[in-house]
Amino acid sequence: MAQPAHDPSRHSYYVGDALYQELIADFDVVRRDDPTIQDLAERDVFRGLVEREARLLDRLQFKEWLQLYADECLYWVPSTPNGGDPRREIAVMFDDRRRLEDRVFRLATGFAWSQAPSSRTVRMVSNVEVFASENPDQRLVRSNFLIHEFWDDETRALAGWAGHRFRKFDGVWRISAKQVNLLVCDQCIRNPSIIL
């Protein structure tokens, strides 16, 4: 995969109509009931990556977490169960590389009252399915998640499923896009300020 022309941590030139179209099409794939890759070795590669991401988020290791993502990446939490079209609809979150880094920066300012103190989380990921692709450098992965989050005076469960689009850069799989489908995506959520 080619290197970006602009530093995506500073400038957002890569988020345009072509990217949106590709994003919608790719995350349609993980909604289908097509057969998935049965090869355990291959499935384990992606299961390991998804588990690694969950662990880094639970540990609040955001710098390391960001390194799992491609330079030109997307993190998308739709506000409707079917994903919808983020060009016409507000999403719960729709972050490019720079805004993901904003998110991490904000949490580190010491003035992010919604995360002072930070939530404690444990994440369970399971039902990892890998979809076959014509492109040897791309894999779409679907997994279920359950996040137990303790914050303030309650422990709650945030459940849903995620789609990961992995792409290979210099032989390394990185997350090029992640779609987080919360069961409560269209409901009022108390303090929605952890990274999912």
Binding site: G16, I90, A91, M93, D96, F105, Q187, C188, R190, S193
Partner: protein, 461 residues
């Protein structure tokens, strides 16, 4: 209201508790009971969310005949319909048989609603169409208006915003809005054709009283502190000459041209536009960083040249807070609705808005780009700003459990000569960080709580 329609007067309720409202609401402070007392909340659902005009929905949510969307008037579940004759109605989502809600879906298109419990069927104008095994009743239920759905008797729109009240003697909505109409008009008229279309929403719940959100809606005092993480994030790349977002609060906010204005009937307005450069692109210049903004800006500048600035402003967040008592706030490009759940729980729904190319001068491609960017600018504040505010609202609710420490002060700006000005039209102007609007709206709240409103519901004949 026609003669034929059936109007029922709502019986006054005795809550078993009486309050000395003048003791609880004073010139410079209010009592914590306004936020912590379940009986006061119960009374508010009648006197405020019943006794005055309340925002219910936007016409663009039900554009076609037979469209519906569910809504709430206080705690009352409603089905907002555009009935088969095109009339907008606020039906009680409550079966007249034994009371279950008829409609459990958020939106759709339906000519009639069949009760899931025993199958009574109602038209979308509220009339009972039929019941299963009708011969089991001694009369024809469809001929007796009391079996038609109750509905909000007064439903009126102002430029697409639908309001409702149970108060038979409320003035027409335009009159009730009064001077706040001007900023609403300006907020709409900056968009092509003076129109916006509601799309999906950011939705945030907090464990606190609904008035904490309304108190905050025009509060210029909290910005630098409550939103410090946001301001630091928005400005992590820029120097002091090109500050982004609300950074103008940093230095002497009360000496800047922005201002706060109380507009009567509980409505108020924070106008930050005078702080901007009065030119096309002035809004875009302070817009913080959003996904895809450089891409769209580059594309529009190539295509439209000088006109690109005005188009980019359409994706920018309009720097106003237009607060319509008790539950509507227009800010940036959002239509924010405050939805009380209990005395200590509130839902805030930040509906996004997009624009239409009404006169065909933007073109489909550019319209798509502007709207896409407009979605991204709108996601910024709820994610990076509002979460910190609602945390502070929750912590106010927590602090107020210290019940012997009774008072909440809203006295900023009070009693300083020459600081607050009453204008000819009766509106009141003050510097940006004053709590004047809180003192004024809570007077209106007190007036409504003292009054015994003439509340009615209505049914089709």
């Amino acid at each position: 209201m026609t003669q034929m329609e059936r109007v029922e007067t709502v019986r006054p309720r005795n809550f078993g508790v009486s309050y000395d409202w003048d003791e609880l609401v004073q010139e410079d402070r209010v009592h914590h009971l306004l936020y912590t007392d379940a009986a006061i909340f119960d009374a508010e659902m009648r006197h405020i969310f019943g006794g005055t005009w309340v925002y219910l929905a936007h016409e663009s949510q039900i554009p076609n005949v037979d469209d519906y969307v569910t809504a709430k008037l206080g705690l009352r579940p409603l089905i907002m319909t555009r009935d088969s004759d095109g009339i907008i109605r606020a039906l009680y989502n409550r079966c007249t048989h034994r009371g279950t809600t008829l409609c459990r879906f958020e939106k759709g298109n339906k000519r009639s609603f069949q009760c899931p419990y025993h199958g009574w069927n109602f038209l979308n104008n509220g009339k009972l169409r039929g019941v299963p095994w009708a011969e089991g009743y001694g009369e024809n239920l469809t001929r007796d208006p009391k079996f038609n759905l109750a509905q909000v008797p007064r439903v009126e729109s102002y430029r697409g915003f639908i309001f409702g009240t149970l108060n038979a003697s409320a003035p027409p909505i335009g009159e009730h809005l009064g001077p706040i109409r001007k900023p609403i008009d300006e907020w709409l008229d900056r968009n092509p054709g003076g129109k916006v279309v509601v799309c999906e929403a950011n939705r945030i719940k907090y464990k606190g009283n609904w008035k904490l959100a309304y108190d905050n809606s025009g509060d210029g005092y909290h910005v630098l502190y409550s939103h410090r993480s946001l301001l630091e994030t928005e400005n992590r790349f820029v120097d002091e000459n090109t500050e982004k977002g609300m950074s103008y609060y940093r230095t002497a906010p009360d000496e800047q041209p922005m201002y706060m204005q109380y507009m009567g009937n509980g409505h108020h307005f924070k106008d930050k536009r005078p702080n901007l450069q009065p030119r096309n692109g002035g809004l875009w210049a302070i817009e913080s960083l959003h996904p895809g903004m450089e891409h769209v800006e580059q594309k529009l500048r190539r295509q439209f040249g000088d006109r690109a600035d005005a188009l980019l402003d359409l994706a920018g967040s309009e720097p106003v807070n237009i607060n319509v008592f008790p539950n509507l706030s227009l800010l940036g490009n959002h239509i924010q609705v405050f939805q009380p759940v209990s005395f200590e729980e509130t839902d805030t729904i930040w509906y996004g808005t997009r624009i239409e190319d009404v006169d065909g001068t933007i073109g489909e491609d550019a319209l798509n780009d502007i709207n896409t960017l407009r979605m991204r600018t709108q996601e910024g504040f709820p994610n990076f700003g509002e979460v910190d505010d609602v945390t502070n609202f929750e912590q106010i609710q927590r602090g107020l459990r210290c019940q012997e420490d009774e008072w909440i002060y809203m006295n900023r700006g009070l009693g300083i000569p020459g600081r607050i000005h009453t204008l000819e039209d009766g509106t009141i102007k003050a510097p940006a960080t004053d709590e004047m609007f809180m003192r004024e709206y809570i007077k209106e709240w007190k007036r409504l709580m003292k009054a015994e409103p003439h509340l009615t519901i209505q049914r089709e004949p």
